[in-house]
């Protein structure tokens, strides 16, 4: 078993563990931390997939921004107290649905001929260049998306001046 494979299993396990923690933990703060674990492991997986830039982005955006925002939100909404129930009554059904879908997806992965696998590194420079040439339009749109989200967050979350 190669080292990369071991690494993959480790990262994968951490990722899934984090995921499970997010959905199963009884304390919201723990959930947030588990999420961080999972997201960071995903960044590790990106490295395994030789997507270095993506790993960086992942750590920066998710590990930094998103998690912190989430923690803020959790604190602002004061749901940190231990007594609150976090799961809803349809939990068993949710489990059945998720498992069923998982089985389907695994079967799909297993039975689909994915074609010749020739892993190859993506050059960071090429990626960067294409992002601003080939993908200029989506890039522009994405910027508008961020702007809109900003405006929306401001409008919606900002306390009214007149109150």
């Amino acid at each position: 078993m190669s080292a990369t494979l071991v690494l993959f299993y480790l990262l994968g396990a951490a990722c899934l563990l984090g995921g499970l923690g997010v959905v199963a933990s009884r304390r919201v703060i723990h959930c947030a931390l588990f999420l961080l674990l999972s997201l960071v492991s995903v960044a590790g997986l990106y490295l395994l997939l030789s997507a270095d830039f993506l790993a960086l982005v992942q750590v920066l955006i998710y590990g930094g921004a998103v998690t912190i925002v989430l923690l803020f939100a959790l604190m602002l909404t004061r749901v940190t107290d231990l007594t609150t129930r976090l799961d809803n009554p349809q939990k068993p059904l949710a489990l059945v649905a998720a498992l069923a879908l998982f089985l389907i997806l695994v079967a799909t992965v297993a039975f689909t001929p994915w074609g010749p696998q020739a892993p190859e590194r993506v050059e960071l420079v090429a990626l960067g260049r294409s992002l601003f040439s080939q993908w200029a339009v989506p890039f522009e749109i994405a910027s508008v998306v961020l702007l809109v989200a900003l405006i929306g967050a401001l409008v919606i979350a900002r306390p009214e001046e007149d109150q």
Binding site: L20, V28, L45, A73, A118, V122, A149
Partner: protein, 102 residues
Amino acid sequence: MIALEHFLVLGAALFCIGIYGVLARRNAVLILMSIELMLNAVNINLVAFAMYLRPGEFVGQVFAIFVIAVAAAEVGLGLAIVLRLYRNRASVNVDEIDLLKW
């Protein structure tokens, strides 16, 4: 060497964990977190496909970058709306918001 299927199964698992989270949680913020898990699962898929299947092509990675960007924005916006909800109702539990039904 790691086979593509490894990544795909991992992605599928994470995706389904995320789905479970969305379906089983009642706290709006936790639901948002679960959705982030799902998006990450998608990204694992995209990046794995990009690396394994078509040498020289990296649409998957580009796609993943955009997904990350959108996901981040989504979290921000979602939290803003949830905060507004909290301000109006003093709760972020989604089973308590059912004024609209039937």
